[in-house]
Each structure stands twice: as structure tokens, then as C-alpha cells.
């Protein structure tokens, strides 16, 4: 390792010209040094400027952004003064970028082989004849199964995790000295994410690369980075070794971020970090974090704190670093409202099967052929009133599909859904009477998609109110204001449009819209996955509060096991549209019995430098369920043999409503335990 940094960013200020004509800064005086073999994590909330920084390290700024001052030195020369030809050689060659959504970075009309070949042609000295062998070699390095077959595939034929691996392989094609990673695992399954992070760790070590890893997830940073920089409002507020930052953060913001992450080991909700970061161009006299800081004094609001060297190798932009350790950061204190025992039934699903492929008008006249297995099959669930049932599983496990079926948006191929009073729900939403519709409400994953951008908040809330209660005029407006108050938003939000709200506020409006109908059952589809961790904690707290006050039944779908753990009374684990395990949250998380639940839980990352996920080496995500037998047969680490391939495993009942579907006796599975 050389002492000379490979990437050396000094005093970088980047801004855009606002409507008034003045320069609004997005990044302020950022210093970042990365040496070979070193990996630096850049952490911050959305809007903190972390992606801008990663792109600036390549000498690239998004349209509209300008460099105000500072320099980005790569290998001895400023990236912003290099010629286009030099940049073209460096970018994608010596300096690789892996974006968040590689599915969009790959050209959909070209086979993977062609795209890899292009990267090799531009940035690799090998003769053209050796390219295919090199491409296969690269795909093997990123641990893709059957690389020769992958070369012939189109991007859409690969799963999200596989696409991300291809993107990494492409970045490696030029034998890079440094990799810039912009949230490369956000949106991937826990298991896929854990595998890709291990891969990056290994690659960085074996190839002695420098890495800049941008993420909002401290758990990810904990796993791959040596040092961390925390950005807040475009400014570095904390810099230090990962271990020290995670164990004893020397800045209140980092402390708050860490506290807002839900963890498997804790039974209370995480503490939310209230407030939102200042927008670019707002007043910068005092500490930018002062309005959200519990320690803030008048002194903080008056002077801009400098970076100060702390005890544990951290540099922090805080005036009172010694007080941070005393801050109360235990869970929100709010006890998890628990579902009362033996409460009456709210919703029952009886042997539901869902198919996406329906015979087309042409296929109806063709001789019948056995179709592929149903996407979701044999789902039987009973949900008592006031319970929160968590549905977890990887992407493609049919979690959201089941919610859509309950909501009537996707009629099941088979099975029936009944309400607590025994009335059967019509499979299609347009056949359900208004009262049934009112009783089941749904909150969607991304509020940018689920709120009509042309409507004001008042219009959005008016829809259920006028539809179900026939309200109009001042009464409608009063009830809309009330609905906003249930999600802790003031009446002044009524006339805003979704575009004028932050991500967390939008999701609150979406929740308010669902609760305006006074529902009995609320279906939540990954409702926190589009939010920052700090905002997520606040939304979880809100849901917990609503659950306690309204005795609402929740069906809560998430791929994030810690979030489900924080909120659910009972949890159901799905694999490829089939139930694997169901039971009280506490039981399932404390001692996972089903091999799949164990695989999932072992892959969870925690913001703890001593925590390492346990992964199965040959674990590969699948795209379709097997035709018969146990759905998990191909990935199971403890597979028995022939029986798993042919026979559907029976339900084995444990204590307290705990049940698993496996051929191995429950008692034996419990013995092996976790880890």
C-alpha cells in the first residue's frame, strides 16, 4: 500500500444556480482521501450529497451542477481539468462505477456477452480472441453460476442480484485501481446483498483496490469499509475508523442514525431521528444539525463547528463531543402494542393459489398442456383482530401478490378469503360491496407512485372520505384535517402537493388516506423500503401508535427482517409463493426452525463491526418454484434427499401456534439452533 492517496478530494464545493440566480451549494468543502487497498464508506440521508460526491470523484457532475471550488485529484492530476479523451480512458477502466440499479445500466437489447466484450475492447489490452475467455473468467470471479450461459442471456433474463454481479464484472473488466459504488445493494434481498458484499470485500482485498462505498445503510458499511465519512447537508460531520464510528460515534447525528436502525436483538422500536435536513441554500451560520440535535445550545446555533480530532481516531464537527456518550438513545420507549389473546378472527385465507399466466384468447383453443406451477400456492392463514402479521421472504416470494389478492386487485386462481364475520370476499374488487371495501385498505411501497402528483393532500384524503362516507364541503375538510392529525401532520399540509413533501411526509399522507376510511384491516406493502432509516423509524413508531389506538389488524409485508421483527406479533415466512414457517415473532426470530428462515436470518447485516453474516457458499437465488416437493429443495443446506424433491412437506405444529413445513422433525431442527 502506498501512502500517496489514489483519490484525493480537497475542499470540494459543488452547487447549482437557484431560481434567484445565486449559487446554492450541495457539497461544502469535502475532503476525501482514499489509498490503494482501502475502502471508505460515505453515509448520509437522501439529499445529503453522497451520490454527488461519488460521481464527482469520477470528475462528473449531474446536469445543472457546477464545481465552485476545490479539486478532485486522481493519480496526480485534477479530474476536472483532464481532457475528454483522458477521462474516457480512466472512467470505466482504472476507475469503475457500480450504480444502484444495474438493471437500468445494462442495455436491454444486447446480450451480456456483447456488453462485457465492449468493456473489454475499450479498457483491456488483451487480443480480441481472448475476450470470451476473459469474460467467462470475470463472471466466475463474481460467482455467477454457468458463466458461459450467462454470456448468451439478455439483461431481463437475469435476476436483480445477477444483474448487479454482471455490473461488477463489467467494472472489473478494465482491471480498475478504484471502484466507486453508489448503493449497489439497495433494493436487493438480504441474502443476495450479503453475498455481494462478501464478494466486494474479497475483490478489494485480493486486487488491492481502493473503494468508495456510498450507502445510507450502516449495516452494509460495517461489513465492507475500513473508514467512514458521515455526510450531513453536504458537509462531512464525522470521519473515522468504522469500528470507532459504529461503537462510539463522536457526532450526535451518527448516534441518532445508529439508534434509528431496527435490530434483531431488540424487542422495542428504534428511536426515530425527528426533523429533516436543511435544504440547499438555507442559512448556514450555526451547526447544520443543531435544529435536530438534543445537545444543541445557543452556542451551536451561533458558530459553525470546525472538524475536531477526537479520542478514538475520529474527527467530528461537534462542539460537545464529550457529551454524546451520555445521550439517551435507548429505543423509543414505546412498548410494542401487542395483540390481545383469543381475539376474534379478522381475516382468513383458505388455500389460496394465484397464477399470473392465464390462457390467452388463442391458447384456449389449443390442446391443454400442464402450465408452470402457480406463483403462489396453498396459502392458508388466519389473522385475529388487532394482530400484525408480518409476511417475509425474498423478492419473487409472492408477498405483494398475496396482498393484491386480499385487496381484490388480483383474483386468485383458487381458494377463498373470508372476513371475520364469515362473509366471503368477492375475488374481484368491483364485485365487493362498499362496506367490505372500506374495511380493507392498502398502503403501497412507494408514495411517489401511490399518490397522484396532480392532487393536493386535501384531494387525496377526500377520496376515501367522500367515497365511503359521502362527505363534502367544510365537513370533508374537517375530517381530512383530522386524518392528517392521526399521522402527526398539521392542517397546513392540506393544500400542498406530493411534490412539495419529503419522502416520509408522503408516506404519512398515504397512511392517513388508508386510515381515513376507518378500516379494520390495513395491508402494508413494503411501506418503509423507499424511506431513509431515520424516517423509517418514525413511520414504524406511527404504525405502532395507530395499532394501539385503533386496534387495526395489519398485514405487513417486507423483505427487511428487522423491520418485520420490530412491528409484528406473528410472522409468516414465504419461499417461492409457499409458506415455510409461521409463528409468533418472538419464537421465530429467537430460534428459527425452518432451514430457509435460518438462511434468511443469518444473512441479516447489523451495524456492528463484530457481526458477520453466515452464508452458504453455493446459495443462488431462483426464479421459479419447483414443480413438486418442497419449494426450498434446491437451496436447502440440510436437504434429506429424494423425499424433499417429490413430496410436499407436511405441517409440523409446535407450541403457541408455531408451525413449519419441513420433512425434518421439528425437535431435530430446534436442536441445531441458529448459527
Amino acid at each position: 500500500m502506498t501512502t500517496q492517496p489514489l483519490i484525493d478530494i480537497r475542499g470540494l464545493c459543488v452547487g447549482f444556480r437557484g431560481r434567484s440566480g445565486s449559487m446554492l451549494p450541495v457539497l461544502h468543502g469535502i475532503d476525501l482521501q482514499v489509498c490503494r487497498g482501502e475502502s471508505i464508506g460515505i453515509v448520509g440521508e437522501s439529499g445529503s450529497g453522497k451520490s454527488t460526491l461519488a460521481l464527482a470523484a469520477m470528475g462528473y457532475l449531474k446536469h445543472g451542477l457546477q464545481r465552485i471550488s476545490g479539486e478532485v485529484i486522481y493519480n496526480g492530476a485534477d479530474m476536472f481539468t483532464r481532457t475528454a479523451a483522458e477521462l474516457a480512458r480512466i472512467r470505466g477502466g482504472q476507475l469503475g462505477l457500480i450504480p444502484q440499479n444495474s438493471g437500468q445500466a445494462l442495455t436491454p437489447t444486447l446480450r451480456i456477452g456483447r456488453q462485457l466484450d465492449e468493456a473489454l475492447r475499450l479498457h483491456c489490452a488483451l487480443p480480441a480472441g481472448a475476450h470470451t475467455a476473459r469474460a467467462i473468467d470475470l463472471l466466475t470471479q463474481v460467482r455467477l453460476p454457468d458463466p458461459a450461459a450467462i454470456l448468451r442471456r439478455y439483461p431481463h433474463e437475469l435476476s436483480g442480484g445477477q444483474q448487479q454481479r454482471v455490473a461488477i464484472a463489467m467494472a472489473l473488466a478494465g482491471e480498475p485501481d478504484a471502484l466507486l459504488l453508489d448503493e449497489p445493494t439497495t433494493g436487493l434481498d438480504v441474502t443476495t446483498q450479503a453475498h455481494i458484499l462478501e464478494l466486494l470485500r474479497d475483490l478489494a482485498r485480493t486486487r488491492n483496490m481502493a473503494m468508495v462505498y456510498v450507502s445510507h445503510d450502516l449495516g452494509v458499511i460495517a461489513r465492507v469499509c475500513d473508514r467512514v465519512q458521515v455526510l450531513y447537508a453536504g458537509e462531512t460531520v464525522l470521519e473515522g475508523p468504522t469500528r470507532a464510528v459504529l461503537k462510539t460515534p463522536a457526532h450526535p447525528y451518527a448516534r441518532g442514525l445508529l439508534a434509528s436502525i431496527p435490530r434483531l436483538g431488540e424487542s422495542t422500536l428504534p428511536r426515530a431521528l425527528e426533523g429533516r435536513p436543511p435544504s440547499p441554500g438555507s442559512d448556514r451560520t450555526g451547526c447544520a444539525f443543531a435544529p435536530r440535535c438534543a445537545l444543541a445550545t445557543d452556542h451551536c446555533r451561533a458558530i459553525h463547528p470546525p472538524m475536531v480530532q477526537g479520542g478514538t481516531g475520529q474527527e467530528s464537527r461537534c462542539l460537545y463531543p464529550e457529551q454524546i456518550a451520555q445521550m439517551d438513545m435507548s429505543g423509543s420507549g414505546a412498548p410494542l402494542s401487542c395483540c390481545p389473546r383469543n381475539s376474534p378472527l379478522a381475516l382468513a385465507l383458505d388455500t389460496i393459489a394465484i397464477r399470473y399466466d392465464r390462457p390467452g384468447s388463442f391458447a384456449r383453443f389449443m390442446p391443454a398442456r400442464p402450465g408452470p406451477p402457480a406463483t403462489v400456492d396453498d396459502i392458508t392463514l388466519t389473522i385475529p383482530q388487532g394482530e400484525t402479521l408480518g409476511l417475509v421472504g425474498e423478492s419473487g416470494s409472492g408477498k405483494s401478490t398475496i396482498l393484491k389478492t386480499i385487496a381484490g386487485l388480483l383474483p386468485p386462481a383458487q381458494g377463498r378469503i373470508t372476513l371475520g364475520d364469515g362473509t366471503a370476499l368477492a375475488p374481484r374488487v368491483d364485485k365487493r360491496p362498499p362496506d367490505q371495501l372500506r374495511r380493507i385498505q392498502m398502503v403501497f411501497q412507494n408514495p411517489d407512485e401511490s399518490l397522484n402528483p396532480r392532487h393536493s393532500v386535501a384531494d387525496i384524503l377526500a377520496q376515501p372520505l367522500s367515497l365511503y362516507f359521502g362527505l363534502a364541503g367544510p365537513e370533508l375538510r374537517r375530517r381530512a384535517t383530522e386524518a392528517l392529525e392521526t399521522v402527526r401532520l398539521g392542517a397546513h399540509y392540506l393544500d400542498r402537493r406530493p411534490g412539495q413533501l419529503s419522502g416520509g411526509e408522503k408516506q404519512r399522507v398515504a397512511i392517513a388516506r388508508a386510515f381515513a376510511a376507518a378500516p379494520e384491516i390495513v395491508l402494508c406493502d413494503e411501506i418503509t423500503s423507499a424511506l431513509d432509516v431515520s424516517v423509517q423509524a418514525a413511520v414504524l413508531e406511527l404504525l405502532n401508535d395507530l395499532k394501539a389506538r385503533h386496534k387495526t389488524t395489519f398485514v405487513f409485508v417486507s423483505h427487511d427482517l428487522t423491520v418485520v421483527h420490530a412491528l409484528s406479533d406473528r410472522v409468516a415466512v414465504l419461499y417461492q409463493g409457499r409458506l415455510c414457517e409461521i409463528g409468533p415473532s418472538a419464537t421465530v426470530y429467537a430460534a428459527p426452525s425452518h432451514p430457509y428462515t435460518e438462511v434468511l436470518l443469518n444473512a441479516v447485516l447489523e451495524p456492528d463491526p463484530d457481526h458477520a453474516p453466515h452464508l452458504l457458499t453455493a446459495d443462488v437465488a431462483e426464479l421459479s418454484p419447483p414443480a413438486c416437493g418442497c419449494p426450498f429443495q434446491r437451496r436447502c443446506p440440510v436437504k434429506l434427499g429424494q423425499r424433499c424433491d417429490t413430496d410436499t412437506p407436511p405441517w409440523q405444529k409446535g407450541a403457541d401456534g408455531h408451525a413449519i413445513r419441513c420433512h425434518i422433525p421439528l425437535s431435530e431442527l430446534n436442536k441445531t439452533g441458529r448459527g
Partner: protein
């Protein structure tokens, strides 16, 4: 808790108009359209001559102090006829364009939302129609029903609404895939209410721009019909008809063709520039700046 007063809408229309006027394309376009509309309204009172008045003394006369653009083959004042020549076209297309947008837009949005076999069948019919040269079906209908504004207006409204179906359907398709439509369906809103409250507000921008483009196409279509003798009946002045009459004498009196042509093209260019500025002001055109 008292609820705050209901908000005042219209601000968006006003800001959009202001944004358009701030762009060179919008400023030029809006000026040209306004100018044409004003002339069409007041031309009967400001025209220097009677449009029917023939003067055998100055047949194909040169431009001069008396006749600004000279006279035509019947000795009528070309300037007067150019001033008046847009009235019929603007009246017919001004009524037919909104009707075309309304029926084409509504049908397109409904098809986009509903899908299924009705969508398949109707869209194939639309494709088949679009494969024909545009003027042909117009001519057939006019030969059957005769010309005249009462026939031309619905005919143009019908035929120019067909391509709008396709645009509206595509715009609706983009909106239908979004979660707020699923949310509205899950709440149990009727399809009509979903179209009105959720989809239309999101496609009106696209339809407005499309409407401006359709208007300019329809003006050209109307002029073409007049040129071919199926539109405005003489002696009523109309740009298309004037070009048709004057082209025979083009070498002797080019102003007879130039006058109406400049009038028509300036209106078309004005509309197109306005449509361009509208698309940019509404944020539909994300591309780089246009030349002007």
C-alpha cells in the same frame, strides 16, 4: 380546529402561460396566434375594400398605394382577401379541434384503462385508418354529404380525433401502471371516476400539446380542402382557395399566392412554436433547449 379556507386554483395555468411567454418560442408563437385572432375578429371593419368588389380596370394589378398586395384575376383587392381569408378556417378548426380532442382523448383514455378485446379491435381499426392518406377519407365524406361548414366541422372533428385516440391511450397507459390507480381501484372507485379524478389530470398536459399540434394540422387540412375546391365556396375569401385561384397567374402576379401563403404559414408556425413552448413549460419535453 377550524379548517383553513379552500385554495384558489388557476395559479398553474397562469404560471404556465408566464413561463411560455418567457421563452422566445412561446413569445413569438403567442404573438402570432394573438395577431391572427385579432385580425380574424376585426377584419370586416378594417379591411380597405369589399372582398367581393371586382374592378375590371386593375385585373392582376401590381401592389401599390391603393392595393397593398395588388389585385387578383377578377380585380379584387388581395390584401382585403388575405385579412378575411383566415376567418372560415379559424372558425371551423376552432370548433372542430376541441371536439376532436374531447372525443379522441376520452376514448383513448378509456381504452388505455380498460384494455381487453375492445381495445384490441378499436386500435387495429385506428391503425388501419392511419395507414390511409389523410385527405382521402375526408374527400369521400365531403363528396357524399357536400361541403359547407356544417359538414366540414364534424367531419374534421371526427377524422382528426382518430390519431388523438392513440396518443391519449399511450399517455393513459403510462398512468394506469402507477400505484395510485391500483389504490383507487382497491378503494372501489368506479372506472369513470378513476378516469376523471386520477387519469385525466395526468394526461391533460400531453393532450393540450397534442391539441395544439392537431389544430395546426387541421388548419392545413382545411386549407388543402379549399385548395382542391371542396372547402369554402367562392366568393368567400379563404387562403387555400386564394392560392388555388392565383397559382395559374403566379408568373404574372406572385403576390396573389404569396399573400395567403405567408398568412397561413405564419399562423401554423405560431401554433407550432406555442405547442413547443407549452410542452417545455409543462415539463413534458425534457430535451435540451430548442433553437429558439
Amino acid at each position: 380546529m377550524t379548517a383553513p379556507a379552500a385554495p384558489v386554483r388557476r395559479t398553474r395555468a397562469l404560471t404556465t402561460l408566464r413561463d411560455m411567454a418567457a421563452r422566445p418560442s412561446g413569445a413569438i408563437g403567442l404573438t402570432l396566434i394573438t395577431l391572427h385572432l385579432i385580425i380574424a375578429l376585426i377584419s370586416p371593419w378594417i379591411a380597405p375594400f369589399d372582398y367581393k368588389e371586382m374592378n375590371s380596370a386593375v385585373i392582376l394589378g401590381n401592389p401599390g398605394a391603393g392595393h397593398l398586395l395588388g389585385t387578383d384575376h377578377l380585380g379584387r383587392d388581395v390584401f382585403t382577401r388575405v385579412l378575411l381569408g383566415g376567418r372560415e378556417a379559424l372558425l371551423v378548426t376552432g370548433i372542430a379541434t376541441p371536439i376532436a380532442m374531447l372525443w379522441g382523448g376520452m376514448l383513448g383514455v378509456l381504452l388505455g384503462l380498460r384494455g381487453g378485446w375492445i381495445d384490441e379491435v378499436l386500435m387495429r381499426l385506428v391503425d388501419a385508418f392511419l395507414a390511409l392518406p389523410g385527405i382521402l377519407p375526408l374527400l369521400v365524406l365531403i363528396t357524399v354529404f357536400g361541403s359547407g361548414n356544417e359538414v366540414l366541422t364534424p367531419t374534421l372533428a371526427f377524422f382528426f380525433g382518430i390519431p388523438v385516440i392513440r396518443v391519449a391511450r399511450a399517455a393513459a397507459h403510462e398512468v394506469v401502471a402507477r400505484d395510485f390507480i391500483s389504490a383507487a381501484r382497491a378503494r372501489g372507485h368506479s372506472p369513470l371516476s378513476i378516469v376523471r379524478r386520477e387519469i385525466l389530470p395526468n394526461v391533460t398536459d400531453t393532450l393540450l400539446v397534442e391539441g395544439a399540434m392537431r389544430w395546426s394540422w387541421m388548419l392545413l387540412g382545411f386549407s388543402a380542402l379549399s385548395f382542391l375546391g371542396f372547402g369554402v365556396a367562392p366568393p368567400t375569401p379563404d387562403w387555400g382557395l386564394m392560392v388555388s385561384d392565383a397559382r395559374v397567374y403566379m408568373s404574372l402576379a406572385p403576390w396573389g399566392v404569396l399573400g395567403p401563403m405567408i398568412a397561413l404559414s405564419s399562423l401554423i408556425i405560431g401554433i407550432n412554436l406555442t405547442a413547443d413552448a407549452l410542452a417545455k413549460a409543462l415539463g413534458l419535453d425534457q430535451g435540451r433547449k430548442a433553437v429558439i
